[in-house]
Symmetry: C2
Subunit: 150 residues, 2 copies
DNA sequence: ATATCAAATGCAAATAGTTGCATTAGCAAG
DNA sequence: CTTGCTAATGCAACTATTTGCATTTGATAT
């Protein structure tokens, strides 16, 4: 079974309809291999002859993320990026403030938290992202130094 | 010394200019006692006769937050709320998905993290917010039940 | 009090993303 | 193959927030 077919099957198993747009969005994410934003995905779908609206892109990225097919990460410049979720379990991300590289962080602080700390809140979801400088960007700073931003 | 004077002094100690807008914004946050968003703060300043631009509000809320005078929290509906930072140290927040109540969470997962988990990232900043249902909203659900949203 | 200069402001245009509502298209049942 | 229902889509208007650039103003030095 092709990778695309697997994703499509998962989508259907979650009670979502397999539409033309969704098929091409998934194909685009498979092609890309990295992280893409809504603009990039829009351009990909548009290029495949299929006319599409930005709100459809956004709604589908939301839908695919909420069924667990995609990972969504908000970069330091406040733009959301998406990739196919390769991971088996719940996880978070490390994001480089310089080159915007995104690394998977196989750790969630929530399960280890003392219930008392949670002040009787229930059904708690955790937003946890770490923003720093990746190893390469830190290395580059040593030589370039000074104002090394994007 | 009045509370306002204390805030103003802190502002100056951080090398910021004490402008008319900032004085009124701080007064507004002192008056309010809770959390306010940009619109509410804009309305407050506007009402005090002082004409002001939204971009000035946003820039000031950023500035006051980054010197540690304010806490900023992004609600589940993606609107940012601000309050005077009463806390002494670094902390995070618990946010109710129903009534939007914000509670201080005196815990940060970052210091306890194994350095290896951070994958050689440096100068790491932590975005950590917990979204759930507060005790009261959970109680209300028991009786109301069903579709109990905002 | 006056001059100076950077920081702060106003304005207008842009950004990413969301939403209500009318229309379309998957998909399943007949 | 046709019908029907719901989820998905297109469209246009809207949201919160950001940005570049010209102008103003607060703090400081004269
Ligand atoms: Mn991931
Ligand atoms: Mn706080
Ligand atoms: Zn990097
Ligand atoms: Zn609540």
């Amino acid at each position: 079974m092709t990778a695309l077919a697997g994703l499509e099957q998962f989508l259907i198993s979650k009670g979502c309809k397999l539409t033309r747009s969704r098929r091409i969005i998934l194909q685009g994410l498979l092609d890309n291999e990295g992280w893409s934003n809504a603009r990039e995905i829009y351009a990909y779908v548009q290029a495949r002859v299929h006319k599409i609206n930005f709100s459809t892109i956004y709604r589908n990225l939301d839908a695919l993320t909420s069924i667990g097919l995609l990972c969504r990460v908000e970069r330091a410049d406040a733009v959301n990026y998406y990739t196919l979720n390769q991971a088996s379990g719940h996880h978070h991300h490390l994001i480089c403030k310089s080159c915007h590289k995104i690394c998977q962080l196989d750790f969630c602080p929530l399960p280890q938290m003392d219930p008392e700390t949670l002040q009787n809140f229930t059904e708690v979801e955790c937003r946890f992202d770490l923003y720093g400088f990746c190893h390469e960007c830190q290395e580059n700073k040593k030589y370039t130094d000074g104002n090394g931003s994007d």
